[in-house]
Symmetry: C2
Subunit: 226 residues, 2 copies
Amino acid sequence: MHDILIEEKILSENDAIAHENRRAFIERGVFVINMVSAPGAGKTSLIEKMTPLLLEALGAFAVVVGDLEGDLDAVRIAGYGVPVRQITTGRACHLDAHDIAHALQWALGQNARLLIIENVGNMVCPAEYDLGEDMMVTVLSVAEGDDKPLKYPAIFNASGALIINKIDLAAHTDFDIPRARRNALAINPALQIFETSCRTGDGIEEWCAFLASKTLARRPKADTNR
Amino acid sequence: MHDILIEEKILSENDAIAHENRRAFIERGVFVINMVSAPGAGKTSLIEKMTPLLLEALGAFAVVVGDLEGDLDAVRIAGYGVPVRQITTGRACHLDAHDIAHALQWALGQNARLLIIENVGNMVCPAEYDLGEDMMVTVLSVAEGDDKPLKYPAIFNASGALIINKIDLAAHTDFDIPRARRNALAINPALQIFETSCRTGDGIEEWCAFLASKTLARRPKADTNR
């Protein structure tokens, strides 16, 4: 087991940096989401599908992608003309606030109202690392099973929205969407839940409309200290 | 980023305990696998499907299940009359050698030739934590995408076998099984690869035959110090 004191220290340092990130994003009127999921739940495919709708609604947005190795996801997203910053985490199983602090000036320089952070595929560790985002968004693929909220409660608890993805596969699995919703809401009654399929496009519009409205509600602060 | 020195210290302590676990298992003739995967890849369902075949081939086997919270998986497996020990990891995103050391006497007391450790669903951290097993086995669901070996190389590299699971879903996804095999073998050419479906039962027999033969090849050492 990790030494709890060391872990608390790391987390409290992380929180302090996340606080600074958040202050900078709010100051500049940038709305930030932190997308988390198990590996292969479809975060990158969702961003690809969201791109035309978000560009239409917002004009521009930027993406930061975290991966252990390689730049497969970043290359996919950059192919749509969206500014992407790749963070290669090596052995680290999550992005931390320090990673985002390093990407902050780049992100603020994109003149985008929305920053999407695509975290490393991991349903455990990212739950504890505040990046300074406005909202954590968990993506759950129906292929993973409807019991996942009960088994990985921390990440569902830390999230403001849940996207149940790959609903086109639901008929071929034992995944029960109402049960998944009940399990998720039992952990976090405030979750906004969306159902999407990147294959059929179902639900993408509703999710993007929600995200765009959240983004547009964020206004840059006057350039003064409150 | 975690402090690298602290991490190295934790890992070297873990390795020392894993070494002791391994020695005890070898001494007693118990073959041990450490099943790892992303959340929802189907580890528990696989164990359920493997149970009758393994009982027939080996007479008995035991299971240790790691989960952040709850005992859903342990209850499922215990329903088949298989001895199960639950380890609740709380915030820890992986089992470590210390967890297994605590379960060691229990495991050795089951008179089983095979111990299956079902790790926490996580494709990153378990790769670094030797538990004292003979073989790490990665389970990859076709719903996760055939690029996963390239994105999470450490876990494929640490594994002796790869189970490509949920192949019944492959026709409904973009997952290309030959490409997944190529990607996995590019990371680790020694991987033994199996293709399974818990829905149709495809491939379970082949995988169990392999596992049983590995188990039966392990003979208890004479009770002397070498």
